[in-house]
């Protein structure tokens, strides 16, 4: 099958790719299957050798590993290290892999025993503080978003296959939103992290009149102090701002600062 594709007259080797999931909803992998119109073209670019959600055959000989989810148990850290040892390129797929995602919301209690009891009572269950992949292994590339955006994955994978440079927008979602000529959500009374969140989603949520919750993490030089000022001016509560900043883990540092500043008794 190799050598069927060429680019500028140069034959392309189809990289052998594998998909794995740790603690996650598996939605990012599903987003790849959700590319109905271009799925078959996309699959012709690569050779999928491991994708448990979609296929029974599996091999551990791969060039690129896409890993969805965060690390929340010792066996997952071991699996991740084994994947890292096999892969030439390790890609963190989605917010859980990049920042811990919604899973890291449990970290805010700083009391895993309480978290376990709240859900499982006295039944013994193993879990640990949720970590992004980069806390355990070296990550070569991040694909941001909850969920990932299929067009962006296709572009990134195409560039990987062609050997072209991959870069993320340095500017915030706000720029994309303004370019789409959307009504500013602050004017509709809706809090939004668009001013500080890394673009690349084409202002997916704000274009649907849903404020940005920061799933793609901070843009370069994100001005959080300015955001805090905007939120205060618009009458957005510190609680609503913290809800958004702490949701996906990309703004964990700022969320920790806000949380300790507030200490408003929201913890159980």
């Amino acid at each position: 099958m190799r050598g069927q594709l060429s680019y500028l007259g140069v034959e392309l080797a189809r990289p052998r790719v594998a998909f794995f999931e740790l603690t996650s909803c598996e939605g990012c992998q599903l987003q790849i299957l959700n590319n109905e119109a271009s799925l078959l073209d996309f699959l012709s670019l690569v050779e999928v050798v491991n994708f448990r959600e979609a296929m029974t055959e599996r091999h551990d000989d791969y060039d690129v590993a896409f890993v969805e989810g965060s690390v929340s148990r010792a066996d997952e850290a071991d699996r991740l290290r084994a994947i890292r040892a096999n892969a030439k390129i390790l890609v963190a797929l989605g917010s859980c892999a990049c920042f811990g995602g919604v899973n890291q919301l449990k970290n805010r209690f700083r009391d895993l025993d309480w978290v376990k009891r709240e859900v499982y009572g006295d039944f013994p269950i193993i879990t640990q503080e949720v970590l992004p992949l980069s806390a355990v292994v070296d990550v070569d590339l991040c694909i941001y978003g909850c969920p990932i955006r299929k067009e962006e994955v296709e572009k990134i994978v195409t560039n990987l296959v062609l050997g072209k440079a991959i870069s993320h927008p340095r500017y915030p979602v706000c720029m994309e939103c303004q370019a789409s000529q959307n009504i500013c959500l602050f004017d509709l009374g809706e809090p939004c992290l668009g001013p500080v969140t890394r673009a690349g989603c084409n202002a997916w949520c704000p274009s649907n009149r849903r404020g940005c919750w920061g799933c793609r993490g901070p843009a370069d030089d994100a001005n959080l102090a300015q955001l805090e000022k905007i939120m205060a001016e618009r009458g957005v509560s510190a609680e609503a701002m913290l809800d958004r900043l702490e949701c996906f883990g990309g703004f964990a540092t700022q969320a920790d600062l806000l949380r300790s500043a507030a200490a408003d008794g929201r913890k159980p």
Binding site: T23, N34, E36, E53, M55, E76, G101, F109, W204, A240
Partner: protein, 424 residues
């Protein structure tokens, strides 16, 4: 005759999440049949504690990548029931349409990509793109149609953006709704051809009596809210869901299991069909009858056929809903929300069965306690008991190892388990 075998499938492929099957037969007797759920828990119910109500649907939709719309709608319903908010008829129609399109995309994904390879002797859908290109293209077209519809109404096919407590942030464009209606009508032959493909498969012949739990329809085949029922005659109001679920922890699983009148019960497309067969659209009922599916059917492999029947039902009902929506003037998308203390329960039929979200709120509308009961969690015990019954008959019949493994995997896949969801 083969009398002994030791089969371990670790983890099972072509399902959502991580589960292991183990079957050990010695000298013609079953020694062990196990269904182990090893997925890592995420603790969504703890995450929500202390959070303001507006967070619940946004966070809880992320319990599942496949049925994020169903989780979002169940979460919204729980909040609205807690605050005594009645959705407008426009909101209710749009939510049901959105729900139908999620059902269609999820069932088509399961049938064409996860189940069909078993019947056609391949390990994935990839070889089928060569051997059965038209069948694959048909499934892709149906899935695309359903996903495009979810984008149109929910703002996004996964982790929807427009669905909020009180209604929607934005309404779909009517011209786009009209286009969707025409696409739905044009897709009927694709679904008919998919049904023909499944008619050519031999569904394994296996019957084990069990109890089926679902919403109870009054005038319509039920999807969003209403009374709860079981085929053994138990009935409860929506808020009395705990009497239907009776969750418990078990050492072989990080998911909680459930029981009602018997040691296990089943939820999902087959349970819905069994309990509400008379409310299916006539075209869907005709398809069911052509496959010999009639209530009460106790063959779990027929869940696949029940999903096919539901695809026919939701496509017909979606067309009706769009016609109604096109005939009316749209009103405000979103009604105001006033929180209050108390308990709110939302029950929604998601593709894999009945899903419950329940939240207890304080005076300020913050969550004191949350509970989510997942369809696959309710099915785990039934899957195990089916596996045991099947393995016992294989042991007695001396079925070859490979055939046991194939059928065991097919059985679990028939339930379309969403394992990470069950270990939320």
């Amino acid at each position: 005759m083969k009398l002994s075998c030791d089969i371990a499938v670790k983890p099972l492929s072509r399902v959502e999440g991580h589960g292991n099957i183990h079957i050990r037969i010695k000298n013609g007797a079953l020694e062990e049949a196990s269904w182990e759920v090893v997925e890592t828990p995420r603790f969504f119910e703890a995450m929500l504690v202390g959070k303001h109500w507006e967070n619940a649907p946004y966070i809880c939709g992320r319990i599942c990548g496949i049925c994020s719309i169903g989780h979002t709608l169940a979460s919204i319903r729980a909040v609205e029931n807690g605050f005594a908010i009645e959705p407008s008829s426009q909101t209710a129609a749009l939510r049901l349409l959105l729900k139908h399109m999620e059902t269609l995309q999820s069932h088509v994904l399961h049938l064409a990509f996860l189940v069909a390879p078993d019947f056609l002797g391949t390990g994935s859908v990839l070889p089928l793109t060569k051997s059965h290109p038209e069948a694959v293209q048909r499934a892709l077209r149906l899935k695309l149609l359903a996903n495009d519809a979810c984008d149109l109404i929910g703002g996004r096919r996964m982790h929807p953006t427009r669905t909020v407590v009180g209604g929607f942030t934005m309404l779909p464009d009517k011209a786009q709704l009209d286009l969707l209606l025409r696409r739905l009508r044009a897709a009927a032959p694709d679904l008919a051809a998919t049904a023909e493909l499944f008619a050519s498969f031999t569904i394994p012949d296996f019957v084990r009596e069990t109890e089926f739990v679902s919403l109870k329809g009054e005038t319509d085949y039920p999807f969003i809210g209403g009374a709860l029922m079981s085929s053994d005659g138990v009935e409860r109001p929506e808020a009395g869901y705990l009497a239907m679920t009776n969750e418990y922890c078990t050492p072989a699983s990080t998911a909680k299991w459930a029981k009602l009148s018997r040691p296990s019960f089943a939820v999902g497309a087959l349970a819905r069909c069994n309990n509400n067969f008379h409310l299916l659209h006539p075209t869907a009922r005709a398809v069911a009858e052509s496959f010999g599916l009639a209530p009460v059917c106790h063959n779990p492999f027929m869940t696949n056929i029940a999903q096919l029947v539901e695809c026919v039902h939701v496509m017909a009902d979606a067309a009706r809903l769009i016609e109604e929506l096109l005939d009316r003037s749209f009103t405000e998308p979103r009604q105001p929300v006033q929180s209050r203390a108390g308990l709110g329960v939302g029950a929604v039929e998601v593709p894999r069965g009945i899903l419950y979200h329940a939240y207890e709120f304080d005076d300020a509308g913050r969550i004191l306690h949350a509970d989510c009961v997942i369809p696959t969690g309710q099915n785990h015990a039934n899957i195990l008991h089916d596996l045991e019954a099947l393995a016992r008959s294989w042991a007695a019949a001396g079925t070859p190892d490979l055939e046991i493994e194939r059928l065991a995997c097919m059985l679990v896949r028939a339930y379309d388990p969403c394992i990470s969801c069950s270990v939320h």
